[in-house]
Symmetry: D2
Subunit: 349 residues, 4 copies
């Protein structure tokens, strides 16, 4: 293993921060050199400050690392951000200003015209916005973002379909896992024996972000895809794994077999470039009538592949199916790590 | 209390059968006179044969009743049927043939052209098909059915909207409770920490039954409503209460306020005639952004009212909302009992 | 209803505080006149500040009451305390000093020699310590406490057995509900599919408090009962209801039938004086081999009766059984309310 | 890998049978050559007949194997039995009679004087009873049994303590997982939000089997250890892992440190002989105050090690602690496999 880049993690004690700590253990390109968290935790060893919730053991490397306050240092080559929206707005800008690339899972900058919102299999070329961003803002570093957890699982299978058949209409109803609400999420008194039919801010993101992701880079900006999206977001009593019931309308109506073929054959830049966190196949197809299921399918491709099932004609639009993705891996920390791998592959790191 | 009609319950030991036993305790018009179940249980006291699962105590009246095999007797005035489809097909016909009205929750006869499929608030006049049915089949009794558990919660709020605005398109994604799968339903190994994206036969029913329910009686038959329906049905880890995410397209696009008014003001025959099991208002509206929830709202109106929330414009069709109904009360046993009350009110009993 | 005493609730927004708010709705003797909580909530309407978790609807009377900071006022006749130990220590003393009787569920003063620790069925005469306490501390008011939630369910059935057979040895293993950990208790990531074999401070309380409760008032102090107790406390994934597996050794070994008789016949002062919150019978006996169960039996006697089952000989000590009690009703808020009723009956209020 | 012995599995479709199928995949000494189940399943491919519930994927090797009816064949060298008690009684005798060694997890023969009841770390010499058994019964094969699932986790840590300090008294309260009830076990309606304080027949086994396991082989029979045991058995809502709260009285009262040393240093024949399924250390000690926990510790040593925590003095007996074991691995299928490995090591296979 050659010299690895020194990575920091912003918001390292939270649910997504813990996933970064876990997924970056033994990463071939990045080495965790700094853990940042709020004032309350700064100065404490990570093993003590982080109430570990990831359902695999805590890596020993992080146990004794002392948590830092969230100020930029020059001993990291990049930072991953697992911050909540509010603190992300200032902290991420501070780091980018200080010359540090910020690979962010936060929503604060996703909609900004000069900030790339990227899924490496979908729109790897959008990283060119980095140059516009630096020019606009006078930053030495930059910010690159990944989409909302429920958007990634949706857009991955939409990409090959949009390319071939021209996507026009999306109806999506999500059944999202508890871990998507951070830690601690809804207490058992609330979520046991229940479904919550509302997740603050979520439907707006699901109705907006796919248009940017499937949009095209024209000069210095993204022209959004002309797609109408309607989303209804629900929280269910599942630990990990967002399930989504999707109906699609196209310019050129495909039959289910053509959809299956397009999904099955799809490979993106991460697969071609063999990025370390890329799953062999980004989209898996199941033909079992009662799959995908969160408990059985969320760990497919080490949590980086999405699983699509029940592909069938829709009596109202054209095609409907169910898609499952691991919300804290492919939908959050794993997404940002794959973005960092893309950026290194493209020479931005 | 005047003399009550003597009622039998077909399939009295199952999940819906137990609900009949519970809901008919102290009913002002009907008295449980006979409990019928499969050969395996016949001859045993109900208290011993039924593995009671309804989350309220078992009524004492049924404890010592001896279960009968499923053959028609002349000591009952009507029977409620909680049979599975297969046995319903022959047993219900046997009872109707023998002169006994069968008020059925089973799916076997719902689609038959001469069998009323009824929600008393929606299409009380469809019971006129009873005359056609008797003529066609030469039966002394008859069969009247109620819809599938996930259809009732859907169609109740559709009725006033269809009347005023002309319903054309329905997209519905259901999140259905475990009890809808009968007893025992999916074991904890399967349903804990999980969602099942498939319920056998369910989507077909949800795409078919509303068209008959919202249809119009013309001469001797029902002309189905001209509505396109697309359904995706999921099983979630909830004890009771089906939640449905609904999108609707209309001939005359209403705004959300008009929808709220139409739902809120709606009353049907059961309310006007003050049928014993009718809720004061069949449709409740919540303006809390995170309601309805199965755990908090399923018992509204003693399980006979449905609750609608999150009424808002839909970017793709016209209006979307979330609706919740109690699947074993309004969606099954309570539905059949209300049908029987309607039939008595109309003179068919 | 004559004029009711004006009651305050200290710590009204927490899990036990919410139970006080619920149980005091329509109480014949006490009227909730003030809700107190920490600085963070003071000044807000209760309906907004309290994240309601009791599994019955929030009473409307409390909705608009403005929460006060925790300073004594002269417009209340007594206060109920649902405070955590630390703040209880100073706040309860402040109120007692200011002349206000404090009926406390907190553990801060339970072990103090001049503070009554009372279960009305067990040791109603211990309230005489109030006079000692006032003299010692120069307080106008006073503090009366009830035991720990897992102690009440244990000691209630021990009382009649100790009286008749002379209790010497207690082995108890508890399986305690989540609500006993306050709100929010252990998150689903921790408690789902799990048992926690440790509850901080709990075993010490269970090994100490029964000795004071079953002790005798001699002059100005309590002589503790001479009983050896060994406790092992576990947290299980149950909403409400503490289950305890108990083994007992006696001076005069009883047979199971004698134990059943003693428990079944037991009535205490609350039953004789017909205190408003007293259950008709404080101890229920079940002879079903698989009862008591938390889900089925916790609400017995409106949560104020305990249920004992599986009474049988113990091969090591003398008798073993399983006992269940509702931990936030009989084990907390209901316990304090019954104490207040006792104090009114005795003329201390 | 040399030629492996051909193993059959009796009762291969049930919960424990599935564990045998999983654990024997790639076993160095045994190869699954036959799967036996009831008439209902015989003739079907295993992949179709077994409703797979083990929380790891079903091994592909078994998928297409055709299930046999339960009659002895000469193409297996031994059988593992996961049968329920009733059918075990006749089927196991049939196989032993036919010359086939039966390594059984069933309870039918555990108490028989000439049948070894064995935990390889505890009483490996008891297998000598095989000779007595063959002589008594005229069998070519034989039956060797392992204890009840909750007994194994209890007796493993008792062994070194009994050897050194002389065990006299045991109080144990179990909190047992759902999987111990077979498949399907208690449905969610019963076990969610609940504890069941009764498991049929379990307390008798826990009070009897340790006496035989800790007994000594004298001539042709076992002299049981002179220990008084009192057990209370409960079912909790946990998938896998039996937790037990244990109090112990000794001839020579040890202090906790001596107990910890004795447990920590313990190794048995399986460790010395490096049997393939033996954990490196059979007993793990945790000093975290809130461990062991089923969810976190059941998989220790691949489910073959037990974890002991909270070792402390007991105010009534001498020492108390909490022990956790994986009930379907070390407590059932893994126990029988380790027994088979012991028998091969001793030359009985």
């Amino acid at each position: 293993m050659a010299t690895r880049l020194r990575a920091g993690i912003l918001g390292a004690t939270g649910a997504v921060g813990q996933r970064f700590v876990q997924l970056l253990e033994n990463h071939p390109w990045f080495e965790v050199a700094a853990l940042y968290a709020s004032e309350r935790s700064a100065g404490k060893p990570y093993g003590e400050a982080a109430d570990w919730r990831v359902p695999v053991p805590r890596p020993t490397y992080a146990e004794e690392m002392i948590i830092r306050a969230m100020e930029p240092n020059d001993d990291v080559d990049l930072v991953f951000s697992a911050l909540p929206r509010d603190s992300a707005e200032t902290v991420e800008a501070d780091f980018a200003q200080a010359g540090i690339p910020v690979i962010s899972n936060a929503s604060a900058y996703r909609a900004a015209a000069d900030v790339p919102l990227v899924i490496p299999e979908v729109n790897p070329d959008h990283t060119e916005l980095i140059n516009v961003q630096r020019r606009n803002r006078g930053w030495g570093g930059y910010i690159v973002t990944n989409p909302n957890c429920s958007v990634i699982g949706l857009v991955l299978p939409l990409k090959p379909l949009h390319d071939v058949f021209g996507l026009r209409l999306i109806q999506v109803v999500t059944m999202q896992a508890r871990s998507g609400a951070g830690y601690p999420g809804p207490p058992p008194e609330v979520i046991d024996d229940n479904v919550l039919p509302f997740i603050r801010g979520e439907e707006d993101k699901v109705e907006a972000e796919p248009r940017k992701l499937l949009g095209t880079l024209e000069g210095d900006s993204i022209r959004e895809a002309d797609i109408i999206i309607s989303a209804q977001c629900n929280r269910v009593n599942v630990l990990d794994g967002h399930l989504e019931a999707v109906s699609l309308g196209f310019e050129n109506r495909p039959d289910p077999e053509a959809v299956i073929r397009a999904l099955r054959d799809f490979r993106g830049l991460p697969q071609e470039a063999r990025l370390p966190s890329a799953p062999a196949r980004p989209i898996l197809i199941t033909d079992q009538e009662d799959r995908p299921q969160p408990k059985l399918d969320r760990d497919a491709g080490d949590g980086m592949a999405v699983t699509v099932g029940r592909i069938r004609p829709d009596s109202l639009l054209d095609i409907k199916f169910t898609v499952l993705s691991h919300n804290t891996i492919r939908g959050a920390a794993g997404a940002a790590i794959l973005n960092a791998e893309l950026l290194k592959n493209q020479g931005y790191l």
